[in-house]
Symmetry: C2
Subunit: 386 residues, 2 copies
């Protein structure tokens, strides 16, 4: 028995990412891989430097190809099951950075169908509302609209279905049962969905002259890519490649920031008051009293507040190190550290909310795949599928 | 153990339709039902009169509603796994008659996805070619283009997917395993497909002011409707209703005319020479010699040639009865009876082929659902799905 569990729907226990790398059969991002990234990009992005994006599949191939002029495209997504919190934003922010680095297009899939299928309580109208709210949030994170294609599964199924069916033909019930833990009582929509989530990992090849599909996403989505990679060989298309992120912990030191524990998550819609209340109640590595803290120092390695600086709210490595040391030395008290984070998070959210409010319906329409790519130009290509 | 088997993919053994009615839990078309049909239509269509369409689900409701001014719509389809034979044409010809009687619209689904998913050897291009050849054949059977909507699953998935997902949410693996005999090795596309085939049984309600969906189809498709009826209650839409046809026997007295035994099937593309060769070799109820036939008479009740007159090629009940009696009495010899059938079948096919050849691409486009119904007008309706 493992002492933690990570699936696309659930994470529990104390996640040991080193063990997870072995369990999932993925590769760690080693120092030599970091060197390769530096060679290619001129720098190592914060998320990689700090081990937040920590493992991969075939990232070396993507980088080498890119170095020789063969571009990848990016694909990531969002399951619109409710309002977005900053844990959802993390891999998207990283994806946007990669979009700049690779100067390439990104497919953003919104899996409204999956969320509707998975949650017995969720009706289509509710999913629809979440979806459009989430699209607005994601666009507000700063994707280049000229190189961004939004795929909303219900609206854009015609761009996915032909590929999904080719993929589905090569996936048996046995496989999805083993990989996703499905049972006899799982609905047939969820069984098929693996092929819908795989489709954008191949769609890019029908859209443009690209050589790899690179998927930046949290590690919990990896089972989908494992299946997609096995199928790729059978349909004679390149295997999708991945770079995997850690799950942002919840404020109560929950295994991940989760919508099911609202006080543990900072929503992209939260105001300063709410942020303050939540952060002030966050789990820290501090001592029970100020006296003890001054004397013994805090423990930033178990501190959620420190994690948030590290994951998102302190760009400067030196300043982060300083904060770490001042905490260890008992110079920095939790109250001050939290208030500083409240300021940074609130500022980030205020900016985000302002940008989000400025996004008009026409800005959303502009990035919708059906307004950017004529399906008919793809249909003949689809006939080449196997 | 039954001594016959009927599934959507296979029919074997000596089908006992009375037993099948009980096994499938459907209702026989009784004399009082025939009377109701006569009341409503002014006549009893040949296929019902002769017991070729022999069972149903809720046909009484459809007829009563229609009598009171509440129209049904019709839905049937074709799996484009190869060229069409006259066994495929039989339920479509009956559907076209019902279209006239009810003066209503018909949805014709071409399940290219299913055929691609089911047959490991079939590539998308091949399915695509069969599909468009089959659509031409079906239109040549005389559907009213103003009231006919062709749904080709790949091209028109956007009209089906939202409904299919609502349906799929209510169907577990257990159900499709039990109903269709699927196994752990069945691909997830086939598992999901039940919901794609169910979708047109509900789509009509989003298109027009109709009260029932009536599905005329061969009885082997019934498992799909059983599942769709169970789901209907859960998504608060009317249960699809059915009228079930018998399977046209193959020329060798095979359980059904099947593309896997080419000499047993008369293709819609066959010429007179081929028809003659096949019919001359058909299984009959005749005696081994002319002398014995003159003396003892033939047995039309087991004769495939007689079946073809009865199913398709003798409109006149009196003439059919006369043929029966002349055979029993030894007056009609097999050679004469077959040659007469060769004439009728060839004439039918020549006409069909001429009509088919006259169908232009624009005639096909005219009946394609995406050229007739703006999806955007349906999307708001889809939000009312559960």
């Amino acid at each position: 028995m493992e002492d933690f569990e990570v699936t696309p729907w659930k994470a529990s226990g104390d996640i040991n990412y080193e063990k997870l790398i072995k369990k999932f059969g993925v590769s760690p991002i080693t120092d030599s891989m970091k060197q390769l990234i530096k060679d290619v990009f001129g720098e190592i992005p914060l998320e990689v430097r700090r081990g937040i994006f920590f493992s991969h599949r075939d990232l070396d191939k993507v980088l080498k190809d890119f170095k020789e002029g063969r571009k990848p495209y990016l694909y990531t997504g969002r399951g619109p099951s409710g309002p977005m919190h900053i844990g959802h934003a993390l891999p998207l922010i990283f994806t946007r950075k990669l979009q700049e680095k690779f100067d390439t297009f990104v497919l953003l899939q919104f899996t409204s169908d999956e969320k509707f299928l998975y949650n017995p309580e969720l009706g289509p109208e509710q999913v629809y509302n979440y979806t459009f709210d989430n699209i607005r949030d994601v666009l507000a994170l700063g994707f280049d609209p000229d190189k961004t294609y939004v795929i909303e599964d219900f609206r854009h199924i015609k761009y996915l279905y032909q590929i999904a069916v080719s993929v589905a033909k090569r996936i048996t019930y046995s496989i999805v049962r083993a990989v996703f833990g499905f049972t006899n009582e799982t609905n047939i929509g969820m069984l098929f969905f693996a092929s819908i989530q795989a489709a954008p990992a191949f769609l890019g090849y029908f859209m443009d002259d690209v050589y790899n599909c690179l998927i930046p996403a949290a590690i919990d989505q990896d089972p989908y890519w494992r299946v997609a990679r096995d199928v790729a060989v059978k349909i004679k298309l390149p295997k999708p490649t991945q770079i995997h992120g850690k799950l942002l912990p919840g404020l109560k030191k929950d295994v991940k920031m989760s919508s099911s524990v609202p006080e543990s998550a900072i929503y992209l819609s939260d105001d300063r008051k709410r942020v303050k209340k939540k952060l002030m109640n966050a789990f820290t590595g501090g001592q029970p009293t100020v006296e003890l803290q001054r004397k013994k120092g805090g423990n930033p390695s178990i501190c959620v507040v420190f994690d948030y600086y590290k994951f998102l709210f302190e760009e400067d490595d030196k300043a982060l190190k300083e904060r770490y040391e001042r905490c260890r030395a008992g110079e920095l008290l939790c109250g001050e550290c939290k208030m500083d984070l409240v300021d940074r998070v609130s500022r980030f959210l205020e900016n985000h909310q302002k940008t989000k409010a400025s996004i008009k319906d026409k800005d959303i329409e502009r990035v919708m795949i059906d307004n950017k790519i004529d399906l008919h130009s793809l249909v003949n290509e689809f006939k080449m599928l196997r």
